[in-house]
């Protein structure tokens, strides 16, 4: 095995930093943090106009000549400066899915629109009565000639308030097994039948409930076959889970910060926090877990690079990566002690409240994209060959 992870983007980091210095408004990170809206329309337009959104994509669907590696370095630099560009995250996930399952017309229309920055697509899977059991969706789509009429409600439609479309999971047949009566659509959000209500979360992110009342879309907005939405969802979920909770890198950075803090901070008796053996052990366990998370995510990349679509590898990486990051957050708060509860607004918050924020933001990671309990069942079924327990 070759564990040599050369930074393929090393040659582009400096250019990416200069790009960010020149174009990134420091107010954007603060805007995302205070509003919980993780999409900046002005930045999105800029990235599209300069051709960065289209870098590396097939030219027949609007791909540009921009260097794809430099584009990736720029996105990483933007995220490192706490501008999360989640609108593009969801949109590119759908565009990737369309490469597998879209018609030529849909690829030109939606991928083209996405790369020009005109089309921003939110994910519309979860409903008030169905989250991890995503195939239990009740939002109805009923055929009416060449059109479909959609009625229902979605939960956690993140970034919908900044999106033009939603990738919508609907039920088209009620008399079939639940996985065989689903159909996917790309639905415009400016339809008068769509309403968007904000939901604020523990992690500080603003998400939404979205309501659909007699929304009409043409049949050309249907992605995949009628009642064949589940195979489309499976492709989209693979793209969603492959990140594996960031592969431990964010946790590893946080650990370095807290370790340095613990070495320079004294307790009442004058000893450094780090000199406490229980602190060392908790830090080490978290560091080891972060390395394991990185390797499980690396395995997902190996599968991709050999031409495969990672399934259970992605689920394993997500399960371990997110669960271990949460364990680390709990321990890091304990290690910091009483001041760990202070929010960023409090000037004496250790490390600018980085741990307090990570603790809150990390909670959702074991829930979205398939809860840990679902990941465990996927591992039980596919790695261990145990019987399926979910209907």
């Amino acid at each position: 095995m070759d564990f040599n992870v050369t930074d393929e983007l090393a040659a582009h980091r400096e250019k990416a930093r200069r790009w960010a210095d020149e174009h990134l408004d420091p107010a954007w990170a603060e805007y995302e943090r205070t509003t919980g809206t993780h999409h900046i329309a002005e930045l999105h337009r800029l990235l599209a106009d300069q051709g960065w959104l289209g870098a590396g994509w097939p030219t027949e669907y609007g791909g540009t000549d921009n260097d794809a590696a430099l584009a990736q370095a720029i996105f990483e630099e933007i995220r490192a400066r706490h501008v999360l560009v989640e609108g593009w995250g969801a949109t590119s996930l759908i565009a990737n899915t369309l490469l597998h399952v879209g018609t030529e017309e849909q690829k030109e229309l939606f991928i083209g629109g996405a790369l020009r920055g005109e089309t921003v697509i939110a994910l519309g899977y979860t409903e008030p009565d169905s989250g991890s059991d995503v195939a239990a969706a009740k939002t109805r789509a009923v055929r009416d000639g060449d059109e479909w009429i959609i009625n229902g409600q979605k939960m956690f439609t993140s970034t919908a308030q900044k999106s033009t479309h939603v990738f919508l999971l609907t039920r088209t047949s009620t008399d079939k097994p639940k996985h065989r009566g689903l159909t996917m659509f790309i639905v415009p959000l400016d339809d008068p039948g769509v309403s968007i209500q904000p939901i604020h979360t523990l992690g500080g992110q603003r998400t939404n409930a979205t309501f659909y009342t007699d929304v009409r879309v043409p049949d050309s907005a249907r992605i995949g076959g009628v009642d064949e939405g589940w195979p489309v969802m499976k492709v989209a979920l693979v793209y969603e889970r492959r990140g594996g909770g960031g592969g431990g890198s964010a946790t590893a950075r946080l650990l370095d910060e807290v370790a340095a803090w613990s070495q320079s901070t004294s307790r009442e008796d004058g000893s450094s926090v780090f000199s406490d053996a229980t602190v060392q052990q908790r830090l080490a366990r978290a560091a080891i877990d972060a390395e394991v998370a990185r390797l499980l995510a690396l395995r997902v990349r190996w599968v991709q690079e050999s031409g495969g679509l990672p399934g259970v590898e992605g689920s394993s990486a997500k399960l371990f990566g997110t669960e271990s990051a949460q364990r680390a957050h709990w321990d890091l708060l304990d290690i910091i002690g009483d001041h760990a509860v202070l929010r960023r607004e409090a000037s004496s918050a250790p490390l600018g409240a980085a741990v307090e924020e990570a603790f809150r933001a990390g909670v959702v990671t074991t829930i979205y994209g398939g809860a840990s309990e679902i990941m465990r069942e996927i591992v039980a079924e596919r790695t261990l060959g145990l019987p399926r327990t979910r209907a």
Binding site: A259, Q281, L283, R299, M375, T383
Partner: protein, 283 residues
């Protein structure tokens, strides 16, 4: 010399079958002798007629009685005594004075009395060269034991999975209960991670990566904890049969706890890992 990565594959298989040979000690001891150029002591080692091993703990004084892995079967044991790397050799005639001690994992453990003048004493290296050779050997031991524990835990997991697929309770097989599925899924994913971590540590040693010592410590700690947890869960799901000596799972359960204990408390190894990670050195 063979790459550590290849030896890790062999060690993994030894662990998977609980092979009754001290493969890791023989390999690490032999490599240590070769590294310091001890030609005479190496005689008989490559063909297996002479079995070397190593003391995992620094020998403080000559009078120390030290628990030695493979100590009841080895002819040569290498120890770091102060700043000297020393080989202690005994002949077949005086072997009984290092008789095996009954132990949890049924390993060939024995105490060696370094003050016994029947032991032939050879200084292999001194000063920094001695410490460096010993530390490298100990790190190889950590990686290869991690590999053995990974093989062990995979067999234990298979034993558990096979058992729950066949055993029925409450009108269905145990494999249909989510409480069991989820717990085995957790140890399965951790086991995948332990495999990757151990091969990364072997690769790091083979290619002289600057973080090789840290990764050896990680692989040893994580594989130790994962192997024991896997055996514990697999035994638990065997129910009453798990504690009968007829079922192999108890053998794996014993060895999973006993093997890492040869080095000592895993929590101390984790504290060492913290120092290697956050101080760049051992404290």
């Amino acid at each position: 010399m063979a790459p550590l990565e290849d030896l890790a594959v062999v060690s993994n298989v030894c662990g998977a079958h609980l092979a009754s040979i001290p493969f890791v000690e023989a390999i690490v001891g032999g490599r240590l002798l070769a590294a310091v150029g001890a030609k005479e002591l190496l005689e008989g080692v490559p063909d297996g007629t002479v079995l070397p091993t190593l003391f995992l703990h620094r020998a403080a004084s000559k009078a120390d009685r030290i628990l030695v892995p493979a100590g009841s079967v080895a002819e040569v044991a290498i120890a770091l005594c102060g700043s000297d790397l020393v080989a202690f050799k005994r002949t077949r005639a005086n072997r009984p004075h290092c008789a095996a001690l009954a132990n949890l994992g049924a390993q060939p453990l024995a105490e060696w009395d370094l003050g016994d003048d029947r032991l032939e004493r050879t200084v292999l290296a001194t000063g920094e060269a001695a410490t460096a050779a010993f530390e490298r050997g100990l790190n190889e031991w950590r990686v290869l034991i991690a590999a053995a524990l990974n093989g062990l835990r995979k067999t234990a997991l298979d034993l558990g999975v096979n058992y729950i697929k066949n055993r029925k309770a409450f009108g269905r097989t145990l494999s249909e209960f989510q409480a069991i599925q989820h717990r085995l899924a957790d140890v399965s994913v951790a086991g995948d991670g332990a495999d990757l971590l151990t091969f990364e540590a072997a690769w790091a040693a083979d290619t002289n990566q600057p973080n090789a010592a840290r990764l050896a410590s990680y692989a040893f700690s994580f594989s130790s904890r994962t192997a024991f947890m896997t055996c514990r869960e697999a035994l638990q799901f065997h129910g009453g049969y798990g504690v009968t000596l007829e079922y192999d799972i108890q053998l794996y359960f014993r060895r999973a706890k006993a093997w890492p204990l040869t080095l000592g408390d895993v929590s101390r190894e984790e504290q060492r890992a913290a120092a290697l990670t956050f101080c760049g050195t051992e404290v």
